[in-house]
């Protein structure tokens, strides 16, 4: 059951990222065709933008994010339980212990960052520590550890870089309309007018569509991290309980930075109405339901692995 979910989530993510790549390539190509009469030039521009942003976020991304939420290192002396739980989950996932940070914020939340498992950090808010018991905290940390294990931070960054490239390239095109690029294109437009129309529509709706795909990928990774967390702790119910507590707490978060949104265990600023297409996270009730379903089939879940314990 739990392995099935992990497999399914991985497959969905792969499909989504393929769709995303093809889509960005198509958009860049069409922009190239319209703007320079050569699709390849558009592709090259898109590529260039992607590489520049990739390099900068690869090397400095985690530091910038931790700074932007004012995270402080959590010492073993002052935060014994938190550090202990992180070590336990690092052992369970077979990775090195990530750096542990604390954010002074009364809303309960947590996130992981870092480009690969060797350079990773987990940050939790003060509010989370105060509200959850040990098992629930373990569930949340397992969720974050799963993000690290699955290299989700890299994954999410890659996708958002692609989205960024699409947005920039298509805005280059739209700007060019004002400078007569469109006329030039029109003069030698013969035959492929249907293709031209499709291309134009694609470019116009590209930023919106790529955003929707990005959010779908992000939600997929959340489900994956949930089921992987269940596998690490063998206690899906604790994570479900933690999510219940987190979702029932109505403390306004002081973290005001949408850029870090996809990283958190629950969205800091989700409003109830905009939950579907533009959400980085699946609805929390759905996540709880899936986790509880795993808890009920625990006998099955334990088969082969835990039974050997």
């Amino acid at each position: 059951m739990i392995y099935d979910q992990i497999e399914k989530n991985k497959r969905n993510s792969v499909i989504l990222i393929i769709v995303m790549s093809l889509f960005s390539m198509a958009v860049c190509y069409f922009v190239g065709v319209y703007f320079f009469d050569k699709g390849i030039i558009g592709l090259l521009i898109g590529f260039g933008i992607a590489i520049v942003s990739a390099i900068s976020s690869y090397f400095a991304g985690d530091k910038i994010i931790l700074k932007s939420v004012r995270a402080k290192k959590a010492t073993q002396d002052n935060y014994q339980v938190l550090n202990d739980v992180v070590v336990e989950m690092a052992i369970a996932s077979g990775l090195d212990k990530p750096e542990v940070y604390i954010i002074q914020d009364s809303s309960p939340n947590a996130f992981a960052t870092g480009r690969d498992p060797e350079h990773s950090s987990i940050a939790v808010t003060d509010g989370l520590l105060r509200r959850l018991n040990r098992a629930e905290l373990q569930g949340v940390i397992a969720h974050e550890m799963s993000h690290i294990q699955n290299r989700d931070i890299l994954f999410v960054t890659t996708v958002s870089i692609m989205v960024g490239a699409v947005v920039i390239v298509s805005s280059i095109y739209r700007t060019s309309l004002w400078f007569g690029g469109y006329n030039r294109r029109r003069s030698n437009d013969s035959g492929g007018s249907l293709m031209a129309m499709i291309g134009l529509l694609l470019i116009i709706f590209a930023p919106l569509a790529s955003k929707v795909i990005q959010m779908a990928i992000s939600r997929q990774r959340e489900y994956l991290a949930d089921s992987n967390a269940a596998l690490l702790t063998r206690n899906p119910k604790a994570l479900a309980d933690a999510l219940k507590k987190i979702s029932s707490t109505h403390v306004k978060s002081k973290i005001q930075n949408t850029a870090v949104n996809p990283l958190f265990i629950s969205e800091p600023f989700s409003s109830v109405n905009v939950k579907d297409l533009f959400s980085t996270h699946p609805p929390i009730e759905k996540r709880i339901k899936k986790l509880e379903a795993m808890a009920y089939t625990k006998g099955d879940l334990m088969k082969g692995v835990a039974s050997a314990n």
Binding site: I91, G94, L232, V305, A306
Partner: protein
């Protein structure tokens, strides 16, 4: 025709190569995580003297409980066979639970920060042991699956990879843990 044969050969070589490397990698991880379990077990043995020292001043009338813990720990360390260590580990876990249950009776002790810290440390240690076992068994499961499933099983049998045992089947002795000498009159 020539090229087809060469192509098939190349595919075969790549397959055998990658399978062999994958199995070796998994095998190394099994060994590594096995060592990890022993590290955690030793950690528990080292922790117990500290724990007993922290509480013995308060628990003068619970000599038996404390002695049971020490006894169980020493049995663990000195046990020579796989089965006996497994049993001793269970006895030790039980004795520790008993100790914390008894500690509930002593209000001074219950609110003792030192003991609370110690309790967290012990929970942590127990969890570390459990999770390192779990990780070990997970990798063994993966390894066994790899060498049993077609077509990798052919490569595995050529190079003589053998099924690995789960933790419960094979327990290695952790040696060199320090001896505790308890003096209750202190």
């Amino acid at each position: 025709m020539m090229w087809i044969i060469l192509g098939v050969l190349a595919v075969l070589v790549i397959f055998v190569w990658s399978t062999y490397n994958k199995l070796i990698r998994l095998k190394n991880r099994i060994q590594n995580s096995w060592a990890q379990i022993n590290v955690e077990l030793k950690r528990r043995y080292d922790l117990i003297p500290n724990l007993v020292n922290a509480v013995k001043g308060y628990m003068k009338y619970e000599k038996e409980t404390l002695e049971a813990v020490i006894q169980a720990r020493n049995t663990c360390i000195s046990s020579s066979s796989v089965a006996s260590q497994g049993k001793a580990e269970n006895v030790l876990t039980g004795a520790l639970r008993q100790l914390f249950a008894v500690a509930e009776k002593y209000p001074d002790l219950k609110s003792n920060e030192n003991l609370m810290k110690m309790q967290e440390e012990l929970t942590n240690t127990e969890n570390r042991i459990a999770f390192s076992r779990q990780f070990y068994n997970d990798i063994v499961l993966k390894f066994n699956e790899e060498i049993m499933l077609f077509p990798r099983n052919i490569v595995a049998s050529i190079f003589g990879f053998k099924k690995q045992d789960y933790f419960e089947v094979e327990i290695e002795k952790v040696s060199n843990a320090p001896k505790v000498d308890l003096n209750f009159e202190a």
